[in-house]
């Protein structure tokens, strides 16, 4: 067991999964988060546990990650997941033209699919557009975003990780030669400022990674790309419903408790701290969503919100950027020791992102402990609050 102390900045999906992985591998772990658990992008995901089929044609690296992680998460955190599967449905001729590519892509990525006749599809999901042309079952699921994150956080906590919530990182501590040796923080709940020293700082702040790295004078190529989602007041299906086409706006509709959630859009911003929910995007969601499930038009809007994806790279438009992730060792990229940044990726691959990041941390510090998160069931998310 190493006695290294790792400081994780950010308690979104990546941060809590990294804290869990680090704690399992014997690190002393401190997590610093400026809000409560999963208050940024993670909490506001629509909650689709991807089968990978969405990316099987254009982004096979992400697709393969998704199908593997999908199967792992079902086993280690069943408390946060509705494992009811999903459907891809074609409602017009352009969707139907995508069919061949979709079948081939799913086969290449080993995503199990099965084609249904329109009649079969309507029998299992009676609220689908009755004009649908074909449908495929996929092993999608839906998850409760907060409780997924809490389950990782609770397990990390039970293994000794310490969480400082409502605590902002205001600066990085350096050794005088520009290397990072800790963080300067401000706990807003108690209005106290203090310093935390560690052997490694893991920057897991998603769309906000640039705010942390800029404290060390480092730029990371990150494109904060928000999307709008709208929740409606009735549960109209049991499965996640996807449009059989290349990823676009408002082409995912999924059930959550007694609601349906339609997502999402894609636009660019500079500062992810506050992003307005644009009314025309909200209108687009009902437009596009009701092409898949016409009854959405008769339901009331329950909530409208947005989340900011942390996409890697800049210059390219949102949808064309890969949804995979990247861990940067700033020693290699910027000659700054003691700082690792992880960003990109998506909720479904949170565990894998943590595994790769902690592998990198272990390699840097010469720790030789394998990752066991794929085989370790998480404890009840409620244990995060109950000692």
């Amino acid at each position: 067991m190493s006695q290294y102390h790792a400081i994780v900045v950010g308690a979104g999906f990546t941060g809590v999964a990294i804290a869990h992985d680090l704690a399992l591998r014997g690190f002393r772990v401190t997590v610093v988060e400026r809000g409560p658990i999963a208050n940024g992008t993670s909490g506001r995901t629509h909650g689709l546990l991807h089968s990978g089929a969405r990316y099987a044609v254009n982004d096979q690296e992400s697709a393969i990650e998704c199908i593997q992680e999908n199967q792992i998460l079902r086993l280690i955190v069943p408390d946060a997941i509705e494992p009811n599967g999903g459907l891809f449905i074609a409602v017009d001729e352009s969707d139907l033209e995508y069919r061949e590519k979709f079948i081939q892509g799913c086969e290449e990525c080993k995503i199990p699919i099965r084609e249904l006749t329109p009649k079969e599809a309507l029998r299992i999901e009676p609220n689908l557009n009755p004009k649908l042309l074909t449908a495929f079952t996929v092993p999608d699921g839906t998850f409760d975003p907060l409780r997924l994150a809490l389950a990782f956080a609770a397990t990390a906590k039970s293994n000794g990780a310490v969480f400082h919530l409502y605590t902002d990182v205001v600066d990085l501590l350096t050794d005088g030669q520009g290397n990072i040796k800790g963080v300067k923080v401000w706990n807003r709940a108690a209005d106290k400022r203090f310093e935390i020293e560690g052997d490694i700082v893991v920057n897991a702040t998603g769309a906000w990674v640039g705010q942390i790295t800029s404290m060390a004078g480092i730029r990371v190529p990150i494109a904060p790309t928000p999307g709008v989602m709208v929740a409606y007041d009735k549960r109209l299906t049991q499965r996640a419903i996807n449009r059989l086409n290349k990823p676009g706006d408002g082409d995912i509709v999924l059930p959550q408790r007694r609601m349906m959630v339609v997502g999402t859009t894609s636009f660019s911003i500079e500062d992810p701290d506050y992003v307005p929910v644009l009314p025309d995007h909200v209108a687009l969601m009902i437009e596009r969503g009701s092409e898949l499930i016409p009854a959405l038009r008769q339901t009331k809007e329950r909530g409208a919100y947005m989340a900011t994806r942390p996409l890697i790279g800049s210059g390219a438009p949102g949808r064309s950027i890969s949804r995979t992730f990247k861990a940067y060792d700033h020693k290699e990229t910027d000659n700054v020791e003691g700082l690792v940044t992880i960003t990109g990726g998506k909720a479904t691959t949170l565990r894998l992102m943590a595994e790769k990041t902690v592998d990198l941390v272990c390699k840097k510090l010469g720790v030789n402990v394998p990752c066991t998160t794929a085989e370790t069931p998480l404890i009840s998310y409620r244990k995060f609050y109950v000692d």
Partner: protein, 131 residues
Amino acid sequence: MENPTKKPNTRGILDWFDPRGRRVGGWGFILNRLTAIGLTVYLYLHLIMLGKLAQGPEAYDSFIAFAKQPLIMFGEMLVIIGGLYHGLNGVRIALNSFGVGVPAQKQLLYGVLGLTLVGSLIFGLRMFATH
């Protein structure tokens, strides 16, 4: 997550009677608590009055004369209203507790209030008629 005091954010008994933001069922509860306290106070007054019996006929008669003042009669009226409300609401809650009429708890409460009003009127008229 450390909370320095760990004391719940409550004003205790005061929150029983705070009507702000309360709906029909909440008003039912407030009235139930108020009448309960009123009736308890009355019970003690009643015991003191009965104690006068032990002090002989004079003490008792002078008390009865005192009790015929309008203010005391108004108080007795309150006891009747409180007693009727508290008793009838008890029936409502007992019914609910057997799983009867929970979705109609508001309507039942209006019924309780109606019966209380009718009962109090009848009693009030009788009281004024006999005195």
